[in-house]
Assembly symmetry: C2
Homo-oligomer: 299 residues x 2
């Protein structure tokens, strides 16, 4: 069914009737389409409407990544050169606006409940990105600010996708919204963990990059809480710096021995279980598998 989503997005792009835009779209590397899969697995009748909604949400996600890559000066995306690296920031900004506006145009064919759920999530996503930039200016020891940021930046669109797909299918959409929100939060925390525990090869990018880039992710916040005052100073002194092997080793070791990583895993488990409970009555094995695979991947 993901093929039909791709075909549908290509059709939307062609509607815009601009050769340059069609050319630009060819240079976007295809992702895992987590949000489209989620929509199709919730609205399991896989109607035309569900496929169109999945296409819209993937276009919105692609638009947000285009702007995200400009903001992060990222040269690669999904192992390929990013649009900003290939064609410059200006083109990437405008191409993002084109994908956003076409997605909103198509969204107007849905009920207000769905179109406002998705467009409201885009506002949150953009506010979350602003927060991320703000938080990256100094070490952040505030857990609530971290959760507010990842909820908005990462989880809100997944939440809205799940909510809208459930609404489309006539299910209790609030229950699926909670599933989507927790999936999004857990997904981000795992991303944060992998940045610390994986090697460069597995990640496809340099490991322990987050902290260097000024991102105080959850493992660092928990670690900071557990260190003695001398160690706290050492951790703070490394914030935003290029880390040498000795520093990296020290952080990794402290993440393990302090229990900071374990605390993150515990939380991922809790979020996953809440997500499963929320949609228990629907006995949707695909959605259960997504959560179980995510949790299992970590141990």
């Amino acid at each position: 069914m993901l093929n039909r989503v791709d075909e549908n997005i290509e059709k939307f792009i062609k509607d815009l009737d601009d050769d340059r835009v069609i050319e630009l779209y060819k240079n976007i590397s295809s992702g895992k389409k987590l949000r489209a899969k989620l929509i199709l697995k919730i609205a399991d009748n896989q109607t035309e409407k569900a496929i169109i909604l999945a296409s819209i949400v993937e276009m919105i996600h692609a638009a947000s990544l285009l702007h995200d890559d400009v903001i992060d000066d990222a040269n690669t995306r999904r192992g390929q050169k990013s649009i900003n690296a290939l064609f410059g920031d200006k083109t990437a900004i405008m191409f993002g606006d084109i994908l956003y506006s076409k997605a909103f145009y198509e969204l107007c064919n849905f009920s207000t409940v769905i179109s406002q759920s998705i467009s409201g999530a885009v506002s949150k996503l953009s506010v979350g990105e602003l927060l991320d930039v703000e938080l990256s200016k100094q070490f952040n020891s505030n857990v609530e600010k971290y959760f507010d940021m990842i909820y908005k930046k990462t989880a809100s669109l997944i939440e809205a996708a799940a909510y809208s797909a459930a609404f489309l299918a006539g299910y209790d959409s609030d229950k699926f919204a909670l599933y989507g929100k927790n999936l999004g939060l857990a997904f981000q925390i795992i991303d944060d963990i992998l940045d610390i525990t994986s090697d460069d090869k597995t990640l496809g990018k340099p490991s322990m990059n987050d902290y260097k880039e000024g991102k105080t992710t959850l493992p660092y916040i928990y670690l900071y809480e557990k260190l003695d005052s001398g160690e706290k100073q050492r951790l703070l002194s490394l914030f935003g710096q290029e880390l040498n092997e000795k520093d990296k080793e020290w952080i990794k070791q402290k993440m393990e021995t302090s229990g900071a990583l374990k605390e993150c895993f515990t939380l991922v488990n809790k979020l996953g279980n809440e997500a499963l409970q929320s949609i228990q009555e629907y006995k949707n094995s695909d959605l259960e598998k997504i959560i179980k695979d995510m949790i299992q991947r970590e141990y």
Copy 2:
């Protein structure tokens, strides 16, 4: 009534419930609100709906200017420091996305005819901006390309605003769309003319800046057509360059003596008259005045 538009936008911004966003909005300098005025003057019943639509379109226009200023590396906007100059490109990009998405969110409360007219115009506007960047890479002697670009970049949102306001009021919306489109095109051509004929003080920015920035506006296209081959070479050699006083004087003089400017004025007149004819039956003196003032300003 424009006060109510401002109040309404402030309410929309507050809905987003983020102090940083409220703070950023305070730093946007208020413009002439041409699009809001147009909507209120067409939907002359000035219902709540018209005021909300005017607020939405002004938010969209503000969002487009935020991205536009990042793309043009502009440090000022309406005589004040631009958001990108004050807070950086990243913040300006995201704040633009926030205004766009909130505008789309509110647009969902309107009929599909209106919401798709406005969101479709935003796609055109962004494609127009891409075209503008493309066209600025070398001298453009193609009149059609120029019109395609200014239609999309400048006229399409004004056209959609007029169309939507007429639809809201129950008028023949296609007639008002033509009025809005021609107003937008004429407006842009006058802007292009003023860049050449006005002094720095009147413009509030350096005069003859367009050509230096690689923008082959209509007067330059017409001028090029009228020059002999030696003069053509001189004009081409100045494209994208910092112009000295002698060059500026030469261009100004040639613009007059060749009849290039006169041809632009003739076209503005033609567009204005078409606009007036299109809505003649409605005898809306406010809308007639907008066109007449615009034409008169030029002579």
